[in-house]
């Protein structure tokens, strides 16, 4: 099976060298089985600090973030489907901050690239990036859920395997 799509980044979107990621129904399963070295991990130090600062409301706040990892890329996708560059830029800008707050810097960069695409109006370049964001968002959703389900800080091995599927 080869259902990968190359990420075609325009130089003036400020895009980094994003590698192709799988897309389609089997893509997430493929992504999950790999130990990525993409460097895109949740910031567990930040999460642990949030847990301390938020106390009992940590799980509630994290439920919002978990839901956002699925819903926000979907909103970005809908903006693209609606051919609405302004909405694409706005939704991507918003999601960029959310990603970076969790340490998901590479996802945040993809969102930043989509924001730039929205501003230039060259929506044809957005589709592969949106696919990446949806796959990575699903991954982040699961990792956040795992983290919240675990009591206390994650064991060291968890940190090594928690990498996002933003790679070929």
């Amino acid at each position: 099976m080869n259902n990968t799509q190359p990420a075609q980044n325009s130089p003036d979107t400020g895009a980094g060298p994003l590698r192709p990621v799988p897309s389609g129904p089997m893509a997430l399963q493929e992504c999950d089985t790999r130990n990525s070295d993409s460097g895109n991990t949740l910031d567990f130090a930040m999460l642990t600090e949030m847990k301390q600062e938020l106390g009992d409301s940590f799980s509630t706040v994290m439920q919002h973030f978990q839901a956002g990892m699925l819903a926000r890329p979907e909103k970005i996708s809908l903006a693209l489907q609606a051919n609405d560059p302004e909405l694409l830029a706005r939704e991507s800008h918003s999601f960029k901050s959310v990603c970076k707050q969790l340490g998901l810097t590479q996802m945040g960069q993809v969102a930043a690239n989509l924001e730039a695409i929205g501003r230039t109006g060259r929506l044809a370049e957005a589709e592969p990036l949106v696919g990446q964001l949806i796959a990575a968002g699903a991954w982040a959703h699961r990792e956040l859920k795992k983290y919240c389900a675990a009591s206390g800080p994650p064991p060291p091995f968890f940190q090594k395997t928690a990498s996002a599927p933003l790679r070929g």
């Binding site: 600090e49 600062e53 938020l54 940590f58 919002h64 901050s97 970076k100 707050q101």
Partner: protein
């Protein structure tokens, strides 16, 4: 503790910040844009305003200017992750220039938020009073 008006168009960031602030016993009123924030200020007295800079409708810089023209003693903390060609540091420098007492760059450490809020709340100014 203090009454804080939190202005951010992103509900996730609002959830995070309000959770952190409530945890340390502050009362938080939330607004998702600058216009709503101004409406809230007409009816509520607050000790501190925390506002995102880049928002649709009315952005944080306009909000900052509007608030300070009506309530010159206001304490405002500006938050930004940057937007378009303006990075977070530049936008936050501008916010300081416009009168923000402190700034927070996104992504932020929650401990920093608590520390900066505590510092801003030190009793040097009167609270932001609602309109008579």
């Amino acid at each position: 503790m203090a009454h804080i008006l939190l202005v951010d168009d992103d509900e996730l960031m609002r959830a995070l910040l309000s959770g952190v602030l409530r945890r340390v016993n502050h009362t938080v009123i939330e607004a998702d844009n600058g216009r709503t924030a101004l409406q809230i200020l007409k009816k509520n007295s607050v000790d501190l305003i925390i506002t995102d800079i880049f928002m649709p409708e009315m952005d944080g810089m306009d909000l900052l200017t509007s608030i300070l023209s009506r309530y010159p003693d206001s304490k405002i903390i500006a938050i930004s992750g940057g937007y378009k060609a303006m990075n977070a540091q530049l936008s936050l420098r501008m916010a300081r220039g416009f009168g923000a007492v402190d700034v927070i760059a996104k992504p932020f450490r929650t401990a920093d938020v608590i520390r900066k809020v505590a510092r801003a709340l030190q009793p040097t100014n009167s609270p932001i009073r609602k309109e008579a």
